[in-house]
Symmetry: C2
């Protein structure tokens, strides 16, 4: 039994830089046709020079893979229209982080409201540049995304022509927001389709499943699963694959992030098969994203077969989700 | 400014065994006048011989401290009346663990219902032996204690003369159960008065605050705090102080438990002072427990003064709560 995916895309990816980039970028570039690359480096990417230099390092690290690295800028409220006009041809979106909410987001926005962000958001709306948002308040950990819903609503209402992507949604409330505002879209990760807080802290602490936003309740996972399995047209796969060295995960003060890039397509195929939804996986991992972003990725056929895939213990220093476990689907060929 | 506590008691304490016992038992014995000692060793304590031998090791490890180690048996559904009659003079209570719910509870009870436990519970009720319960279902981690409420209700109704202590309660629902059933009591830990899930997993993972039951929501903590600060007569302090070596806490698959015994009285005094409730601390840390259990501890006056206490980085291999932090109250004298 096989299934072929046409140009699978990862619409939310962390590639980091330097040695880590060299380890992880080839893994994504091999099996995906394109990815939206997050800009939260240290310092964050806020100029075209820095962005193009980062793109060069990505391209260099992936060799001759057919892979489009779609670049993003780190949101600033004082980008001017002229800058954004010139930036437009270099980027696919701009990513907004509330200050301090996740890895390398210290330079993010404090106190998000549409008025104080109007200069940048107004220009983005006019220029057709999507806004990607890490949507969490600074409240109680299980309520952060739900509380941020009010901000999504304000942004969606204030800028009705701006495409706003709720990144890595984790709650049933976010799923509902998709229906309420025409200009809201969402990415969903692999891990939030599979785990709840139980998997992180219900038995022993599982640092490799600790991420932000943290995995929520069973009914939240169910809501996400419904969206993904029906390939809701406003929803795209975005792995939020976030590599950290094993030493930073398995020690005091564990860093947040789950590394899924090299195992995501195999695991997603198993998940969609288990729910008799294989006819929707193409839309979830590629077609929806092409429509929402208006992008045309390189042609790449990834064929998976139902044959055991022994997930490695690690990729370089990084431990993947399902490390040393066996998935039911493996990659047969890439053309 | 000073406050004197008359025979402070810790009604839920883990002393472990062997080398760990020698490190932690003297710390409790120095500043508490008595403690209820948990029986979840490996193997669990289910005979009088094993229990008395454990008591001997405890007594040996604490030297000449005035400290009553109140022993408990690990609950089994097939204890017979004759055994319990002979056990009564050796123990203060019997502790029930649902199977597999926390450290060394593999031999606990599967499927708790009053009928299948009637042999032991009926005899305990007749003999006046309190039942202590780790009250968690095997459901979603944030719901386990709330779900167990139905079991508490069944047990309380089926054995109205049995004193049942809901150990280390963490939810507002458990607080309400106290009012509903005359024969339900509760212990509350220090850490559940201070932290929520935010402190465990809201920033980086904090293994030293990872415990079972896991810390819950802000409104849950508030409910516990109200009970403690008013020294509700059905509520007692029980630290659930649970030492693990630093290496077992700060590594992959972190063990559950917070080590608070040597810093609990200092932190509690600060907490009660901050809420203008110092006139209730004596009841919370001793008097209520004496009434509920009908025990008379050794006489011991512990005087605390408002003077900075620099909490050590560690006690032997064990890292305490507030390690390397400074508390506002310290112990001035013990008589």
């Amino acid at each position: 039994m096989t299934i072929s995916l046409n140009s699978p895309l990862d619409m939310h990816l962390h590639l980091r830089d330097q040695e880590m980039l060299k380890v992880v970028a080839p893994l994504s570039a091999e099996i995906f046709a394109g990815a939206v690359i997050m800009p939260n480096l240290v310092p964050p990417i806020t100029t075209i020079e820095v962005l193009e230099s980062y793109r060069d390092r990505i391209v260099e690290s992936i060799g001759d893979s057919k892979f489009a690295p779609w670049m993003t800028l780190f949101f600033k409220s004082d980008y001017d229209r002229e800058f954004l006009e010139s930036a437009k041809e270099h980027i696919k979106a701009i990513k907004l982080y509330p200050a301090g909410i996740t890895t390398n987001s210290e330079g993010g926005v404090s106190g998000i409201d549409p008025k104080s962000l109007a200069q940048t958001l107004g220009a983005m709306s006019d220029l057709g540049i999507p806004l990607l948002v890490h949507g969490e308040s600074n409240g109680f950990v299980m309520d952060r995304e739900k509380e941020f819903g009010a901000v999504y609503a304000q942004l969606a209402e204030a800028f009705p022509d701006l495409k706003i992507v709720m990144e890595h949604i984790t709650t049933k409330e976010s799923a509902k927001l998709l229906e309420r505002y025409e200009n809201l879209y969402a990415t969903i990760t692999l891990h939030h389709l599979l785990i709840t807080l139980d998997d992180v802290a219900g038995g022993m602490l599982q640092p490799h499943l600790f991420c932000k936003p943290i995995a929520k309740r069973p009914e939240d996972r169910e809501a996400l699963l419904r969206l993904a399995l029906e390939a809701h047209p406003k929803v795209m796969f975005g792995s939020d694959s976030a590599p950290h060295p094993q030493s930073a995960k398995e020690s005091y003060g564990c860093a947040a992030g789950v590394f899924t890039a090299p195992i995501a397509l195999q695991a997603l195929t198993g998940l969609f098969e288990a729910h008799n939804a294989l006819d929707h996986i193409q839309a979830f991992v590629s077609d929806n994203a092409q429509s929402i972003y208006g992008v045309k990725p390189p042609q790449k056929i990834v064929t998976l077969e139902k044959k055991p895939f022994e997930v490695p213990d690690n990729y370089g220093e990084v431990v993947p989700m399902f490390a040393a476990d066996v998935l039911e689907w493996s990659i047969q060929s890439i053309d």
